[in-house]
Amino acid sequence: MRELMLGNKALARGLYEAGVCFVSSYPGTPSTEITEEAVKYDEIYCEWAPNEKVAMESAFGASLAGRRSFCGQKHVGLNVAADPLFTMSYTGVNAGLVIVVADDAGIHSSQNEQDSRHYAIAAKVPMLEPSDSAEALNFAKLAYEISEQFDTPVIIKMCTRVAHSQSIVEIGERAEIFKPYEKNIPKYVMMPGFAKKRHPVVEERTKKLIAYAETTPINRAEIFSDEIGIITSSTCYQYVKEVFGDSVSVLKLGMVNPLPPELIKNFAAQVKKLFVVEELDDVIENFVKSLGLEVEGKNILPLVDEFSQNLIAEAFGRKIPAGKKLADEIPARPPVMCAGCPHRGLFYSLKKRKCIVLGDIGCYTLGAVPPLSTIEMTLCMGASIGATHGFNKILGKESENKTVAVIGDSTFMHSGMTGLANVAYNQSNSTVIILDNSITGMTGHQQNPTTGFNIKGDPAGKINLEALCHAMGINRVRVVDPYNLKECDTAIKEELAAPEPSVIISRRPCALLKYVKHKPPLFVDAEKCIGCKSCMKIGCPAISMKDGKAVVDATQCVGCGVCSQLCPKKAFASTAEV
């Protein structure tokens, strides 16, 4: 059957057809939909783990137990899961184990643009790189064969344009695989005596994988010209074909680690001029150079950002179409916190108190943009708490009464908890605010250990944040409603002043959750409005100034009432009351 399918959905279909029984992942753009699609197959047990490391370890356990397993994450998620990955390379697997890492060239929704191919090289595991949805499906199935044949975890590297593009796939049938667990201490217990013996196994395996890479059909030479030859992979292959069609020769690599030296040399011998077209780092190019071949790549193409057909055409000296524009300056439209976002009131209160806010990863990172401009640091998942601890240890009283960490509920469970353990243990007088919107928001509403529901929306274990913080040794834990500015302000003032660590839980569900019942929109009584712009300080996309008066966009307003608490003239009223 022929279907138009998102790359991530096609990959999930591949998992199903490969007989995968276990999926454990942590959401992260652009990888999230793989797990969300996999859960639709009854044959696959799926879960959101608290973080990528736990997800990968769980997938490893499932592989040991004898079923094909999977773990998906975005590029930075693999940093978190790198620890199990590197040693799983030594233990190998029982049933096949496949890992997806989804890179985000172009930084559409990430904190950096790292190139995950380095992980495959460093951990010495094979990496496949599909270039469209059909390959995502087929490579997923092939990855399990490679995993079992070579006794290794296999990484599939996606990127935003493969993960989030739809193209045509042919779907097939599911296979069932079961490999009973067998106790094997020297293989699975990585203590020095055993690990030392496994390392040569890894090196031998790499040699066999290189031989495989030389002949696998997913590495293919398309010979059309003896003038120009381009080595490429992933979505770059599609751009190269878009620009050149069948006018140049292409070596399309579906397997990017290990690379096939003989195949590359043979290809190079068939063309006069050799190029590598790859996004981000010069991984393939450096390998080609190490073979003693003359090649061009990053001398004409950038190391940063994602590519496109125009970018490649221009790099190769081709004329690209120029579009026409209006003379007007077009204002930027950066992402913003939604109308009714529960984070807004809390950030307003922090701004008012002139707090130093060290932030974290989630929708609330938008607290860094005008007019709130409150967050002063965002690094990685969980870093807000560790950084606040260090900041306070150095500056002492100077910062303790004005510095806070802000972190979401899901991010706190992911890796904020260990930061809080450090605050409690090494006793920095730090104030941590958990923005509990009862969901993982940015990635599109995934459940987490604090929500009480599992990935299917069924009731599940629910971690009580207050009890958890208390148990970790934090005496001062209080809950506020971020729609209530006075309550937020009092809590922030008191907890910053307190002579010990404290946690404020700012609790209200994400305004986009379907079960959240909103109030009718507000409107501004133009007679009362004096145009003071007090309500504009919160950066609500539903409020703007027209002819010197504030106006509310009724299509966006959800009646949260944060703006009306700022109005000195009580000009806001509910449309329900007219």
Binding site: R2, E3, L4, L6, T29, P30, T32, E33, H108, S109, D132, R161, H164, S165, Q166, S167, I168, T235, Q238, Y239, K241, E242, S308, Q309, N310, I320, P321, A322, G323, K324, K325, L326, D328, E329, I330, P331, A332, R333, P334, P335, V336, M337, C338, C363, L366, V369, P370, P371, M442, T443, G444, M536, G539, P541, I543, S544, M545, D553, T555
Partner: protein, 191 residues
């Protein structure tokens, strides 16, 4: 057939994902090779978003670049202006005239340009502009702006009505189907 390129632009959260899904499904059933590239994640929080739909005999790249779009389908007039350079010479614009202030306009750091439709027409762009929001409300939900636009776009496609209906049925949840069919019809009959 030479590959045709459509870009669907708007403000994150306006429903471009559903519009691209319906369009992609329609074109697949017409026998074309199709690629659609979507935006997920942070930009969906009220940012400027662009979705690409490409179809033809053989489509390679999933994205559309500057100067390549045959159609701009836009949910918001400032976004139409933002992505104009993606249009081919003689490309067609199908746009909602709704204005949604971006944050720099709300905070007073920038001004929302005036008379954009007129300026585009004066600059020689082929602009088909309409008030989709009113029609969507008339259909029963302001969220149906995306389907009103598709109804209007259907004028420019040599695809019969039944195929559009089939694609709507396949991609819209049953309880919203009637509403969306009405929105499509209103968009279609609006010119």
């Amino acid at each position: 057939m030479e590959t045709k390129n459509v870009i669907i632009v708007g403000v994150g959260g306006q429903g471009s994902l559903l519009a691209s899904k319906i369009l992609g499904h329609l074109l697949l059933n017409q026998g074309y090779d199709v690629k659609v590239s979507e935006v997920h994640g942070m930009s969906q929080r009220g940012g400027s978003v662009i979705t690409y739909v490409r179809f033809g005999d053989k489509v390679y790249s999933p994205v559309v670049d500057e100067g390549q779009a045959d159609f701009i389908v836009s949910f918001e007039i400032l976004e139409t202006a933002r992505w104009l350079s993606y249009l081919k010479p003689n490309g067609q614009i199908v746009t909602n005239i709704q204005q949604i202030d971006p944050m720099p306009v709300i905070t007073g750091a920038a001004a929302y340009p005036e008379n954009l439709v007129e300026k585009m027409k004066n600059a020689g762009f082929k602009v088909d502009a309409m008030d989709c929001l009113s029609l969507a409300r008339q259909a029963g939900s302001q969220k149906a702006v995306n389907i009103v636009l598709l109804g209007r776009l259907s004028h420019y496609f040599d695809v019969d009505e039944a195929a559009w209906q089939k694609s709507l049925e396949a991609n819209v949840p049953p309880k919203f189907l009637e509403l969306n069919k009405k929105a499509f019809a209103l968009g279609k009959s609006s010119c």
